[in-house]
């Protein structure tokens, strides 16, 4: 009898749909850390990141059917939800000022590097290497859009580059990463199975 810890993510979601709280707890244990970290990175606030994380997991509890295991991994699903929600908050008027302050502070302290990001220790280095291998302009565009929640138009304006160029760089950078990550030993999982 497989224990909860070894159940696939898809099986966990089935159990969540059947209102088994321990299954949600296990999903949180697996994915709560990255979800929280992404939200905090985007929002620059642990409090807001907690709100987002809570919302993401309560939504999974309330509407587990929205996760379609055929269309991607649970991790991706949760991260996408968290990012979307974080960006919504960020783009709300009240948060704009906070972001501006944070952007200044971050630029001073760490810029747009992802040096401090580490994942499951086994693959953190490989992911970092893959990201570092990107052309700098692609990497910058992706990081500003994804981690700082800027639209590609805003990124273009900040960098003084044409919008179309930034748009293309984000896409080509993500495509390049998709190719490069497996070369660095990181499998990009589309689904749980």
């Amino acid at each position: 009898m497989p224990s909860l810890e070894t159940a696939s993510d898809a099986a966990l979601v089935v159990a969540i749909a059947r209102m088994h709280e321990r299954a949600l707890a296990e999903a949180y244990r697996r994915h709560g850390g990255p979800v929280f970290a992404l939200a905090r990175r985007v929002l620059g606030s642990a409090d807001l990141a907690e709100e987002v994380t809570q919302e993401v997991f309560v939504d999974l509890w309330d509407a587990p059917e929205r996760f379609d295991p055929g269309r991607g991994a649970l991790r991706t699903f949760l991260m996408t939800k968290a990012h979307g929600r974080a960006v919504d908050i960020l783009r709300s008027e009240s948060a704009r000022r906070r972001r501006e302050e944070r952007t200044v502070r971050e630029t001073v302290t760490s810029g747009y590097d992802i040096e401090h990001l580490a994942w499951d220790l086994a693959v953190a280095e490989q992911v970092k290497a893959a990201v570092t291998s990107l052309p700098a302009d692609e990497r910058t565009a992706i990081e500003m859009a994804y981690f700082d929640g800027h639209t590609y138009r805003e990124v273009a304006s900040i960098l003084g580059q044409p919008e179309g160029t930034v748009k293309s760089r984000i896409r080509s950078g993500l495509r390049r990463l998709r190719t490069v990550l497996p070369q660095h030993g990181v499998e990009v999982a589309w689904t749980d199975s």
């Binding site: 810890e5 089935v14 949600l24 949180y28 059917e65 269309r71 994804y146």
Partner: protein, 269 residues
């Protein structure tokens, strides 16, 4: 955005769209296109998977935050029943079953009346049309998702139904405590449906739960669920049935409800 974007125009936006980095009007235009374009949909899924990878920062999920989440979903106000273990331990001896027995410490009180669901008096004998009854695994206790569930046809079908986007879900709550969810009905457009016990305590073996659907205000038996059901398949005409209720009856079931409902539908999603 008034005009529809071409495939190539949308394709150029897919990276930014996957990162939530497009304007709202562009997002709408992309979504319209995605609905009809599997290729672009797949590309967005791939971009998002990549983004999820590079976003990972090696922090554990905050435990205190789990307590807040548990409190939010635990509408009964009970103490948190579980929390994430700090480390994965696939071989730990404590193999708690995924599917836990319904909690027994919250006995239902029989305070509700049939009028609560707008039905006939409890004692009234009404003509009952049994739409269809299929009782399976009455007292089977499934203690884990696999393999015992996989071996159970009804459980497997119920799981598939739960994940079916076309399925209609109806929540039944305890009539004694409306905050307590007692069971979930998953109804497919075909009329095939599953009753899934989420918190109905075990009855004495000479008793059974019975599911009723209201057709023009009258209770119609939809199935005898057994004394300790996990999930039971039944058939229903979703267009005819306006609400649902569960009673406890003498084993074997009754042609008409003889007790006040223990649980009834509140809302559907």
């Amino acid at each position: 955005m008034d005009r529809q974007l071409s495939h190539d125009e949308v394709a150029e936006l897919l990276g930014a769209y996957a990162l939530d980095a497009v304007d709202p009007e562009e997002a709408v235009a992309v979504e319209v296109h995605l609905a009809a374009c599997p290729r672009c949909t797949a590309e967005v899924a791939q971009h998002r998977a990549v983004a999820g990878l590079i976003a990972n920062a090696g922090v554990d999920a905050p435990t205190a935050l789990w307590d807040r989440i548990a409190a939010r979903i635990d509408r009964t106000g009970e103490p948190v029943r579980s929390r994430p273990s700090p480390l994965p331990s696939p071989s730990r001896p404590d193999r708690s079953p995924v599917v836990q027995a319904p909690s027994l410490h919250r006995p239902w009180r029989r305070t509700a009346t049939w009028s609560a669901v707008g039905a006939v008096a409890a004692a009234a004998v009404v003509a009952v049309v049994v739409l269809a009854v299929q009782v399976d695994h009455l007292d089977q206790r499934v203690t884990a998702l696999e393999p015992s569930v996989a071996a159970s046809g009804v459980a497997q079908q119920a799981q598939a139904a739960l994940l079916d986007p076309a399925a209609h879900r109806v929540t039944l709550t305890s009539t004694a405590d409306h905050a307590t969810q007692a069971a979930v009905l998953v109804i497919l457009p075909s009329g095939t449906a599953y009753a899934i016990n989420t918190d109905m305590p075990r009855l004495a073996s000479d008793q059974t739960y019975q599911l009723w659907g209201f057709v023009r205000g009258r209770p119609v038996s939809l199935g005898v669920l057994g004394s300790d059901p996990l999930q039971v398949a039944f058939s229903v005409d979703p267009a005819a049935v306006t609400s649902y209720a569960v009673t406890d009856e003498v084993a074997g079931g009754a042609p008409a409800p003889t007790h006040a409902p223990l649980a009834q539908s509140v809302a559907s999603t």
